[in-house]
């Protein structure tokens, strides 16, 4: 830890003032207000708040639509994360040799990170478009099944999963490639000398040695899929068809802004807050172990 060297009575307060002020007004105030609001509901005329205690939470957890939304979110986040990481890991492992031009590949892989989830969704929306899209067209030669995401929940889910995985893929692959470069070739050589085949080498050595990278990418992708995909859902499926893609963040927004159920929406915010705290704690617990990226 650095020894502090400057002495001044008021300057340090002045220096932290902007950050503290913004944090208080735009983070703490709304967060506490969410917690407070979650204990109230608006009166029938909307002119005052009625204290309902845990009422909103009890309502949420007994509400089939909310439970469905929670399951949808967890499913969505898990599929995006697991599919994205597995794909990236396998390709990275296959491509892991000392080859020329790794830097060029990295440039060609990283750019989708710059595309907003909402825009990524719109690009894929057209590829999936039931009437004009290239994907249903190609599939129509294989099967008579109608891959129409306007009508079928799982197709809509697939659409947003694909868009999310696509956006994150190059980024995941770049991190795995970097992680693989850090594994000593001699370790793998030694294993192959001992008669371990490529699959065995991958499972016994590469995968465990990459676990810090995997863990880092896991929490990152989970956080992304949970909290940064609002734009994707809003611009593509709008939660539909039915509520097949209504993830928690989208539902909290819709209940608050379109259905104007403030207390209920605030209670959903509080639940989401618990999820972030869990994910952050998880991240720091493992970061403590001096994981090196």
């Amino acid at each position: 830890m650095k020894r502090t060297v400057f002495r001044n009575r008021w300057l340090p307060y002045l220096l932290v003032a902007p950050q503290v002020a913004i944090t208080l007004v735009f983070f703490y105030w709304p967060a506490f207000d969410s917690v407070r609001l979650s204990l109230y509901r608006a009166s029938p005329f909307g002119d005052r708040l009625i204290f309902v205690g845990w009422g909103n939470f009890a309502r949420l957890f007994s509400d089939a639509a909310y439970v469905r939304s929670a399951i949808t979110s967890v499913l969505f986040a898990f599929i995006v994360t697991v599919v994205g990481l597995a794909l990236a890991l396998v390709l990275a492992a296959l491509a892991n040799t000392k080859i020329r031009g790794l830097g060029i590949y990295r440039s060609l892989l990283l750019w989708p990170y710059g595309i907003a989830p909402a825009i990524a969704g719109i690009l894929w929306l057209f590829i999936f478009h039931p009437s004009y899209g290239v994907l249903p067209y190609v599939l129509s030669f294989v099967t008579a099944y109608q891959f129409n995401w306007f009508l079928k929940g799982w197709v809509a889910m697939t659409l947003i999963v694909v868009a999310a995985v696509w956006k994150q893929f190059g980024y995941n692959l770049a991190f795995y490639l970097a992680g693989l470069q850090g594994i000593e070739a001699s370790v793998l050589e030694a294993a192959s000398v001992d008669g371990a085949g490529p699959v065995r080498r991958f499972l016994a050595i590469t995968f465990p040695l990459l676990s810090p990278v995997t863990f880092f990418l896991f929490t990152l992708n989970m956080t992304f899929a949970f909290f940064e995909t609002f734009g994707l859902v809003h611009s593509v499926t709008q939660g539909g068809p039915g509520d097949a893609t209504s993830i928690l963040v989208y539902k909290a927004w819709k209940d608050g802004f379109e259905n104007l159920q403030l207390g209920l929406s605030a209670a959903q915010s509080v639940v989401l807050m618990a999820v972030v705290i869990g994910l952050t704690a998880l991240q720091f617990r493992f970061a403590e172990k001096k994981v090196t990226y």
Binding site: K2, T4, V5, F6, L11, P12, Y13, L15, V16, P18, Q19, V20, I22, T23, L24, F26, F27, W29, P30, D33, S34, L37, A95, T97, I99, W111, P112, Y113, G114, A116, P117, A118, I119, I122, L123, F126, I127, H129, G133, V134, Y137, G170, A174, V193, F227, F230, G231, H234, S235, Q238, W253, F257, L262, A266, S269, L272, V276, I277, T280, Y293
Partner: protein, 293 residues
């Protein structure tokens, strides 16, 4: 004993066929990476192609995968219909405002935390730390009420200031300052330089790389933010470009889907952040690794 012989045999075989094997794995690696790059680029290629076609070409079957000649009309149409000029300015204000504001604010607070001893330092540090757990989606309704009370709905203040404070930047600079030898600050003091002088002429030039890295990450984040502008702007004049593209997407069957115009708008909107990533890639990679730690 047999094992050793076996092992020795394998080593010999490897040595004999070494170069050839390496060549083949190199070819495989290139093939996999090129395939990944192509697959990753396809949605963008398709969007660009559609943006150059007429409506009837864009909605014809089989889908046309080659560019046509209507690019100019489509981009002009998208520009006018979505008021793209205004929206891009709004996005630029938001992205630059957040990036620059956040860098300045976190630079100052990290300086105070590392180079000063003051009462309440721990409290300030933890206050900033906790903001990691309060992303926008967990404060949806309450944040809007705060913005209404401040009169910041539909203003550039509202689009930028509330997103300027968060822990990422502060931690990044704090970590970096801690690696700077104490002797620098001592020498500055001996020369009679005050803390602000030290910050301006020594710390700031040393932080250039970190500032550039953070800038790329924050610019992309600010440009692509979706939920925030959707919540706190209610007029088309104050909307950002990413949200504006969504408003072109037809909802319900009656609207004519001009996908060529939508894709032209999408390309215009995704270009700036992707360009920043491509042209500042070195800083982008540094920023990714450091800010996600």
């Amino acid at each position: 004993m047999a094992r050793v012989l076996d092992a020795a045999g394998r080593v010999d075989v490897r040595a004999a066929t070494g170069p050839r094997r390496r060549d083949w794995s190199g070819v495989l690696a290139h093939a996999i990476l090129i395939a990944s790059v192509a697959l990753l680029a396809f949605p963008l290629y398709y969007a660009v192609v559609i943006s150059t076609q007429t409506v009837s070409q864009a909605t014809s079957l089989p889908p046309r995968l080659l560019p046509s000649t209507s690019a100019l009309q489509n981009y002009a149409e998208a520009w006018h219909r979505a008021k793209m000029g205004r929206l891009l300015i709004n996005s630029a204000v938001m992205a630059l405002g957040i990036a620059i504001g956040k860098i300045v604010i976190s630079l100052l607070s990290a300086f105070a935390i590392v180079y000063f001893d003051f009462r309440g330092k721990r409290l300030v540090f933890w206050m900033i730390f906790v903001t990691l757990m309060l992303p926008i989606p967990v404060r949806i309704v309450s944040t809007f009420e705060v913005m209404t009370q401040l009169g910041w709905v539909n203003t550039y203040w509202g689009l930028t200031v509330p997103l300027m404070a968060s822990a990422t930047g502060t931690f990044l600079f704090r970590q970096f300052y801690q690696t700077i030898p104490d002797s620098l600050a001592e020498a500055a003091q001996l020369d009679g330089a005050g803390p602000l002088r030290f910050l301006w002429s020594i710390l700031l030039p040393l932080s250039k790389a970190n500032i550039a890295a953070l800038f790329v990450i924050l610019f992309v984040y600010g440009w692509n933010e979706y939920l925030w502008p959707l919540m706190i702007t209610t007029t088309t004049e104050m909307r950002t470009a990413v949200v504006g593209v969504e408003s072109l997407v037809p909802r319900g069957g009656s609207q004519l889907a001009e996908w060529n115009v939508i894709m032209a708008a999408a390309i215009m909107v995704l270009l700036p952040p992707v360009a920043v990533i491509v042209f500042m890639q070195r800083w982008f990679v540094k920023g990714l690794i450091e800010s996600e730690k």
